[in-house]
C-alpha cells in the first residue's frame, strides 16, 4: 500500500526521496532516470568540463531505493496505477511523483537541429567533442544559463560569442546599468556580446543574426530558457498550464490526488521555478505531504548570487522601488543599486555586479527596516557586520533562517561543518558561509586558534609570549607552553617569530632544526629534490657586469635559467652540494640572498620611473631599491611582496602587492593588503601624498604590526580583512598611534635594519654550516644518482621516475 514511484532522477527527485528516507518512510521507493547516470548536481555542471569529474558532482546514494537508470517513463495508467517505460517495463504505484525536469528551449529557427543544448553531462560531452575541431562558438541566450554555457565554451578554448535578445545581459537579474557593467567585464575576458538581436538561421559553419550580421562559428549552443517536461502529464489527462508545466496545488499535488509533481516540471501558483532552492523546497513539501504532513509551498525567494566568468552578480528582493541608491564604478567594474520604500525606511531589494558583498549582508533585511543609511551600506559593503533578525533567511537554497542556525548553536554546534551537517545551510551554493561564521562568532563561540597539536596558542599569542618572556629557543617555548616535540607547522612558525624578534642566523644552533628545507638550505626545493637559487636584485636594477656573472654561474653549473615575475633571475637544478659553490661565486660578485626561500620580503618591483620615463613623476626605482634594502631579510608570517610605480599608469602593478606605492605629483600613495595568487585582491589606499620619510615610517609600522598580530601563513590581504574595524582601524593604529605602540613598532624595525646580515655570506664563511650541504653524509663528494635531467629548448629539465614504477619497486 506504500509503493512510491518517482519518474525522473535529478536533484529535486533526489531531495524528495532523501527527505522521505530521513523521516523514516517505510514503504518501497523506485526511481526511474532517463539518463545513464545517477542524480548529480547540475548547478556545478560547468566545472565538469574543466576540473571536476563525475564523482564530485554525484549526489549521495539513497540506501534501500531501487534505481533504474536509462529507463524513461513513457506512459501512466492512472486507473490501474501503473507506469510503463520505453522498454515496456511496468511498475505499479500507490503514489507517483513526476520529477521530469525541463528541456532546453530551442527556438524554431532554420538549422536549429545543428545546434547543441546545455543541460546534461551527455550534452556537455557532445559539446566537448564538437569543440575539439572548432575555433569559434556561439551561445544563444545571455541569461544565467547562457553565460554558464559561454564560460564552458571559453574553457574549451573557443572564441565565444553571446547572442541575447534583450538589450542587455541577464535581464532577469540586473537592470540596464548593471548590464552595461557586466558587458564590460565579459568583453574584457575576450567574449563578444551581441545584445538586442536574435538568431535568424544556423548554417553549417556560420550563424545569421536578425540584423543581417553573420558569425563564422561551427558550434552553436542554445541556452535561452527552459520548458517544463509535462508530456507524461498531458498524455494521461492531468491538468497542465497554458504555457506548460504540470499544475499542482500548494502541497505539490496534481489534479490526481495520487500524483505529485516537483521541480522544473511543476507549475505552482502560476510559476515554473528553475532555481535549485525553490525546487528543493517543493521536494520537501511533497515528501512531507506524502507522510501525512501539511507543509505548503507558497512561492520562493528568487534571489540569486553567482559568480559567472569570474564576475559576481547578485539580485535580491524587488528590482524596482520608490527610491533607489546607486553606486557605480565603471573603472573597477562595480555596480550596486539598492531599492527602498518611499519613506526610505524599508529595504526592498538590490542589484550587484562586480561585488556581491551587499547580497550577503543585506538580503536578510529585505522587507525590514534598513539597518543603516543606504549610502553607508553600499560603500562599506561586506565590512559592515549587522545583527540579523531570527526570521531572516540566511541560506536561500535550503531555506534556513538565522533563527534555525542560532538554535543549532545553542544546542552545542561550534563550527561551520557542524552547522552544515545539522541544518544543510551552506551545502548547495555556499554563498552564505561567511554569514554562518559571523553568527557563530556573535554567539560567542570560540573558534579554536590552536596552532597545532603542540600549542593551544595562536601565532599572535606565541609572538607576544616570545617577546614578553624573552624566549630565544623552541625547546624553551615548547617546554613552558606546549607539549610533544613539535611538527612541520609549529616549528617553522616559531622559527619565523624568533627570526622576526631577534634576527640572527636561521641556521644557528637549535634553530637549524626548526627550518623547513627551503630555509635549511637557503634555496627553493623543486620537484626532483634539487633547489633553485635567486640572488637579490633590488628594484630589478642590475649592471651589465652583474648580469654577466649570473649568466656565467648558470652556464658553469648547468642551471635552468628563467626571469621571475619579481624582476629577478631564478636558477634551477642545483644539488645541495653545489649551493655553496654557486653562492661563493655570487657573493664574490656582490650578490646577496634574495630570500626567495623564506617567509620574508621577496622583491620590490619597480617601473623605470621619472629618471627615464616621460610620464614618470617620482624616482620609483630609487625608492624600490631603498625599500628592498631596508626590509631585506625581514621574516614574517608569510611572504611579502612590494612594488613602486612612478606614476598613476601603475606599470609596476603595485596594487597587487602586500604594500604597493604609487607616485603622485606631491609624493607617494601607499596601498596595503593586495596580492595575486589563488585569490587576487587589490591593495587598499592607506595614506596619500606623503613624503618619502613619512611613507617609510608608515610601512615600518604596517609590517611590524602585521608580523606581531597575523596568523601563521596569513597574507596581509587576509590579515587586513580580518582586522575588526578594517582599514580605518589599521590607519588609527599605525598612523594616529591609537594603541600607543608605534614607538615599540618603530624600535623593532630599527633593530631589524641595524642587525641585518646576508645569511648566504655568513654561511659560506662558516665551515660548520657548510658541512651540512652534502647529498650523502658518508660520501660527501658523491652527487645524488637519482637526479637526472634531459634537455628541452636548450636547457635542462628534470626527469622523474614514474610513480607506478616506484611503487612496484617498493613492493618487491
Amino acid at each position: 500500500m506504500n509503493r512510491v514511484v518517482v519518474a525522473g532522477y535529478g536533484p529535486a527527485a533526489h531531495r524528495l526521496v532523501e527527505t522521505l528516507l530521513s523521516r523514516g518512510f517505510d514503504g518501497s521507493v523506485t526511481i526511474f532516470g532517463e539518463e545513464s547516470l545517477p542524480a548529480y548536481d547540475r548547478v556545478a555542471l560547468t566545472s565538469y568540463l574543466t576540473d571536476t569529474d563525475f564523482a564530485d558532482l554525484r549526489l549521495p546514494d539513497l540506501p534501500g531505493v531501487v534505481t533504474r537508470l536509462s529507463a524513461r517513463v513513457t506512459g501512466i495508467d492512472r486507473a490501474a496505477k501503473v507506469v510503463t517505460t520505453a522498454e515496456g517495463h511496468a511498475e505499479p504505484y500507490d503514489t507517483l511523483v513526476l520529477a521530469t525536469g525541463s528541456a532546453p528551449f530551442v527556438p524554431p529557427v532554420p538549422g536549429a537541429s545543428h545546434a547543441f543544448v546545455y543541460r546534461t553531462i551527455d550534452d556537455l560531452e557532445l559539446i566537448r567533442a564538437a569543440a575539439s575541431h572548432a575555433t569559434r562558438g556561439v551561445v544563444v541566450g545571455g541569461g544565467l544559463l547562457g553565460l554558464e554555457a559561454a564560460d564552458a565554451l571559453r574553457g574549451l578554448g573557443l572564441e565565444t560569442h553571446i547572442v541575447e535578445l534583450s538589450p542587455w545581459l541577464m535581464p532577469r537579474q540586473v537592470d540596464e546599468g548593471g548590464g552595461a557593467v557586466l558587458k564590460g567585464h565579459i568583453s574584457r575576458l575576450g567574449l563578444s556580446v551581441h545584445a538586442g538581436v536574435s538568431l535568424a538561421s544556423i548554417e553549417p559553419d556560420r550563424v545569421v543574426l536578425s540584423d543581417g550580421r553573420t558569425i563564422d562559428a561551427s558550434v552553436v549552443v542554445f541556452s535561452a530558457g527552459i520548458k517544463p517536461r509535462d508530456e507524461l502529464a498531458r498524455d494521461c489527462g492531468l491538468e497542465v498550464g497554458e504555457r506548460g508545466g504540470v499544475a499542482v496545488d500548494e502541497g505539490m499535488r496534481t489534479s490526481d490526488p495520487s500524483i505529485y509533481a516537483v521541480g522544473e516540471c511543476a507549475l505552482v501558483g502560476g510559476m515554473v521555478y528553475g532555481l535549485v532552492g525553490p525546487c528543493f523546497t517543493q521536494a520537501e513539501v511533497a515528501a512531507d505531504r506524502m507522510l501525512g504532513g501539511a507543509s505548503r509551498f507558497d512561492g520562493a525567494d528568487l534571489s540569486t548570487k553567482l559568480k559567472l566568468l569570474g564576475v559576481e552578480v547578485a539580485q535580491f528582493g524587488a528590482m524596482e522601488g520608490a527610491l533607489d541608491v546607486t553606486y557605480m564604478d565603471p573603472v573597477g567594474g562595480v555596480y550596486k543599486r539598492l531599492f527602498v520604500s518611499d519613506d526610505a525606511q524599508t529595504l526592498l531589494g538590490g542589484i550587484c555586479v562586480g561585488d556581491a558583498g551587499p547580497y550577503t549582508t543585506l538580503k536578510p533585511f529585505v522587507g525590514k527596516p534598513l539597518p543603516a543609511a543606504p549610502s553607508d551600506l553600499l560603500f562599506t559593503g561586506s565590512a559592515v557586520s549587522l545583527d540579523l533578525p531570527d526570521d531572516a533567511q540566511v541560506c536561500s537554497c535550503n531555506n534556513v533562517t538565522a533563527g534555525h542556525l542560532r538554535t543549532a548553536i545553542c544546542d552545542g554546534v561550534t563550527d561551520v561543518p557542524g552547522l552544515k551537517a545539522c541544518t544543510r545551510a551552506g551545502t548547495t551554493c555556499g554563498s552564505c558561509v561567511p554569514l554562518m561564521k559571523q553568527l557563530l562568532e556573535k554567539s560567542g563561540v570560540e573558534l579554536s586558534k590552536a596552532l597545532c597539536e603542540h600549542f593551544d596558542h595562536s601565532r599572535a599569542e606565541l609572538f607576544d609570549i616570545v617577546r614578553v618572556r624573552e624566549i630565544t629557543t623552541f625547546s624553551e617555548l615548547i617546554g613552558l607552553y606546549g607539549r610533544g616535540r613539535g611538527c612541520d607547522i609549529c616549528k617553522p612558525a616559531v622559527a619565523s617569530i624568533l627570526a622576526s624578534l631577534h634576527n640572527g642566523h636561521v641556521l644557528d644552533g637549535e634553530r637549524a632544526a626548526l627550518q623547513d628545507t627551503n630555509d635549511h638550505f637557503l634555496a627553493n626545493i623543486q620537484k626532483n629534490g634539487t633547489y633553485s637559487v635567486v640572488p637579490r636584485i633590488p628594484g630589478g636594477e642590475i649592471t651589465p657586469e652583474k648580469l654577466i656573472v649570473v649568466g656565467e654561474v648558470a652556464r658553469d653549473f648547468g642551471l635552468y635559467t628563467k626571469i621571475t615575475g619579481g624582476q629577478r633571475i631564478d636558477l634551477f637544478g642545483a644539488r645541495v652540494e653545489q649551493l655553496p659553490q654557486i653562492w661563493k661565486r655570487l657573493v664574490d660578485a656582490g650578490f646577496e640572498s634574495g630570500h626567495a626561500y623564506g617567509k620574508a620580503l621577496r622583491t620590490v618591483k619597480s617601473c623605470v620611473g621619472s629618471t627615464w620615463c616621460r610620464y614618470g613623476v617620482q624616482d620609483s626605482v630609487g625608492l624600490a631599491i631603498a625599500l628592498e634594502l631596508r626590509y631585506r631579510g625581514l621574516r614574517s608570517p608569510h611572504k611579502l611582496k612590494s612594488a613602486v610605480s612612478g606614476c598613476a599608469r601603475e606599470c609596476a602593478e603595485a596594487r597587487s602587492k602586500d604594500f604597493g606605492i604609487i607616485a603622485t605629483e606631491k609624493g607617494w600613495n601607499l596601498y596595503v593588503g593586495g596580492n595575486g595568487g589563488f585569490k587576487p585582491r587589490h591593495a587598499d589606499l592607506l595614506i596619500s601624498d606623503v613624503s618619502t620619510e613619512e611613507l617609510i615610517t608608515v610601512i615600518d609600522r604596517f609590517l611590524m604590526f602585521y608580523i606581531r598580530t597575523a596568523d601563521r601563513l596569513q597574507r596581509t590581504a587576509a590579515w587586513v580583512e580580518s582586522l575588526e574595524g578594517g582599514l580605518d582601524y589599521l590607519r588609527a593604529v599605525i598612523v594616529d598611534d591609537s594603541l600607543g605602540i608605534c614607538d615599540s613598532l618603530d624600535a623593532q624595525m630599527e633593530r631589524h635594519v641595524a642587525t641585518y646580515v646576508d645569511e648566504w655570506r655568513t654561511t659560506i664563511e662558516d665551515p660548520d654550516k657548510l658541512s651540512r650541504f652534502v647529498s650523502f653524509v658518508n660520501a660527501p663528494g658523491t652527487p645524488d644518482p637519482s637526479i637526472v635531467f634531459e634537455t628541452e629548448r636548450d636547457q635542462i629539465k628534470p626527469v622523474l621516475i614514474p610513480l607506478e614504477r616506484l611503487s612496484s619497486s617498493l613492493a618487491t
Binding site: 616535540r485 612541520d488 627550518q515 626545493i525 620537484k527 651540512r772 653524509v777 658523491t782 637519482s786 616506484l806
Partner: protein, 114 residues
C-alpha cells in the same frame, strides 16, 4: 618460518654520531640505497628510506622532525605527509609506508643494519 634462510645482518658504519644534529636528518648511501637518518631529541637514531613515495624524489631526510602524539615523525618537505620514524608508516595515508632500517651506535659511530 624462513628465518634460517636470511643472511646474517650486516652493520654498515655511516658517520660519527656527533655529526647528527638533534631533530634533523641526513642521508647516507648504504649499499646503493638512500637511507635517511634522524637523531631525535632523546638521542635515539632512526633510519628510514629517503624516497618520498608521494613524489618520487629522494628527500625525506630533509623534512622537519617532530612528534605526533608519542610517535617521533618526519614530514616530507614536498607535500608535508608525516611518516613514523619507528615504523615507516605514513600517518596521513594508511596505505603508504616507507622502509625502515635498524640502527646502532658503536664506539661513537652510527651503523645501519642491512
Amino acid at each position: 618460518m624462513t628465518v634460517a634462510e636470511l643472511p646474517t645482518r650486516v652493520w654498515v658504519p655511516v658517520c660519527a654520531y656527533a655529526v647528527l644534529l638533534p631533530e634533523r636528518g641526513v642521508c647516507a648511501l648504504v649499499d646503493g640505497r638512500q637511507v635517511a637518518l634522524f637523531r631525535t631529541h632523546n638521542g635515539h637514531v632512526h633510519a628510514i628510506g629517503n624516497l618520498d613515495p608521494f613524489t618520487g624524489a629522494h628527500v625525506l631526510s630533509r623534512g622537519i622532525v617532530g612528534s605526533r602524539g608519542e610517535e617521533p615523525t618526519v614530514a616530507s618537505p614536498m607535500h608535508k605527509q608525516v611518516f613514523s620514524l619507528v615504523t615507516g608508516q605514513c600517518l596521513d595515508d594508511p596505505s603508504v609506508a616507507v622502509p625502515t632500517y635498524p640502527t646502532r651506535v658503536n664506539d661513537g659511530r652510527v651503523e645501519v643494519g642491512l
